[in-house]
Amino acid sequence: MTFLADVATLARKDLRLELRARDTLPAMLLFVVSTLVVFRFALPEGADDVAAQGADDVAAQGLLWVALVFTALLGLARAWAPEREGGALEGLVLAPTDRSAIWLGKSAAVFIFLCALDAVALPAFALFFAPVSLSTVAGVLLANVGICAIGTLLAAMAAASRTRELILPLLFLPLAIPLVVGGVGAGVSAEPARFLAFLGLYDGVFAILCWASFEYVVSE
Amino acid sequence: MSGGEKYLAAAYTVIFVTLLVYVAIIAAKLSRLERETAELAGLAQERRPDRG
């Protein structure tokens, strides 16, 4: 199955590049922790009243997702940077590989970056705000799939645009809204299964769409 | 006019005004197109003055 082999090769390449350069991931980690700290100061001090505490925790869940989404944006802006700087994207597109393999390889690498991000962000969140439930973790993982799938494709679209860094958040945020709903719901609701199932649906629908349409985004 | 009527009027006015703005934009575009065609007709004349 050369398709999967290509995907693995491409993903490995991205991971190796990042391990060597070490520019994107540390920035993302620092960014998410700084953002959480800013949020702590932005939230009004909860009263000692338990009910208020509860509300704070729910609001804080929302802040977790805001932090995750914007940090992901930061990373996605750099997703295609190695290809752009080296002029390698044209080379990849001309190579006798399925174009979707390029997308899947890059998405896989981004997924790993996001998981590394979560390994820092979730403990930090638990430390600063409230403990993180298992369903939140599941929600985060599922949402990561969606983020890396659409984020990689949208970043490729943005790369073709003049206003590259400006346009990526505009493209990404409306599509990220359902992810935030799913993620926050998974963490907050009494029935997280519905929200997790919804996240799975989102991932399925958009992953298929991205896989099918990526070649049109990068080709003439 | 009671409250309800005012909102009703407001809603239909918004729709109406939007349509009028649309018409105005098209009118502006049409006059620009007219200007351009006249200009192009002039250019065509210059190239073949005998064809009139």
Partner: protein
């Protein structure tokens, strides 16, 4: 470059006929709304906003769907004209979407006293879609004209139509848990006359949207034909 909309055999462009038809239908719809349809017992006169608000919303969805359909055709058949048709459809959809938000907001104020209600699923969905399709234009105008731009716009339009059901589901899920509903909306109980008026209004708005769509297409094709002519003459 396709000039099919200009050189159609017979009476030239169908746009004037469409415009007349749309005007007539809208006139009839307005007459029905204000003179024939009974006043709603609960909501009073402001209920009549619905007769245009809902068709405008439905037409916006239809425009986005039409744009996605043309986008699919572009990616599949690779004919240039589909790009323009998809773009104009999305443009129409965005305008009607903005109108949906405006009329919906006025209705919300009239019924509940607030200019915005997060509990109104339709409104929230349109807000998300409006954000999405506004980005469509920013994306399109930041890319050089050409096949790349056409392809990217088409893919984005397809994403939009996938976003509609997904967003709707998300909003439904959110309203019950994240934002417990304070206001519940009961759809107006429609009598036969009301339903008939609604249908007429729907057909009228659809006709209007289609007439505007063909009109805008005509204008844009004229534009590009003139540009080609100019290039040919000045070379």
């Amino acid at each position: 470059m396709s000039t099919s909309s200009l050189n159609r055999s017979g009476f030239g462009s169908p746009v004037p006929l469409l415009a007349v038809l749309a005007s007539g239908l809208v006139g009839i719809a307005l007459a029905l709304v204000f003179f024939v349809a009974p006043e709603d017992a609960d909501q009073g006169l402001s209920q009549k906003i619905f007769y245009f608000h809902v068709p405008i919303a439905l037409t916006a969805y239809a425009c986005f769907g039409w744009g996605a359909f043309k986008a699919l055709l572009l990616l599949w058949r690779k004919e240039e004209r589909y790009d323009l048709e998809s773009y104009v459809a999305v443009h129409q959809g965005t305008i009607f979407g903005a109108l949906t938000l405006a009329t919906g907001s006025i209705w919300a104020k009239a019924s509940w006293g607030h200019w915005w209600l997060w509990s109104e699923n339709q409104l929230v969905l349109f807000l998300v879609l409006f954000l999405f399709y506004s980005a469509y234009f920013m994306l399109r105008f930041s890319i050089e004209e050409g096949p790349r731009r056409a392809n990217i716009s088409a893919v984005y339009a397809l994403f939009g139509i996938a976003l509609v059901p997904v967003s709707f589901l998300a909003i439904r899920l959110a309203e019950n848990v994240i934002h417990p509903t304070v206001f519940t909306r009961e759809g107006p109980q429609m009598t036969g006359t009301m339903f008939f008026t609604f249908c007429v209004a729907w057909v009228a708005i659809s006709a209007l949207a289609y007439a505007l769509y063909r009109l805008e297409l005509l204008g844009k094709r004229l534009d590009s034909n003139l540009r080609e002519l100019r290039e040919a003459l000045s070379s």
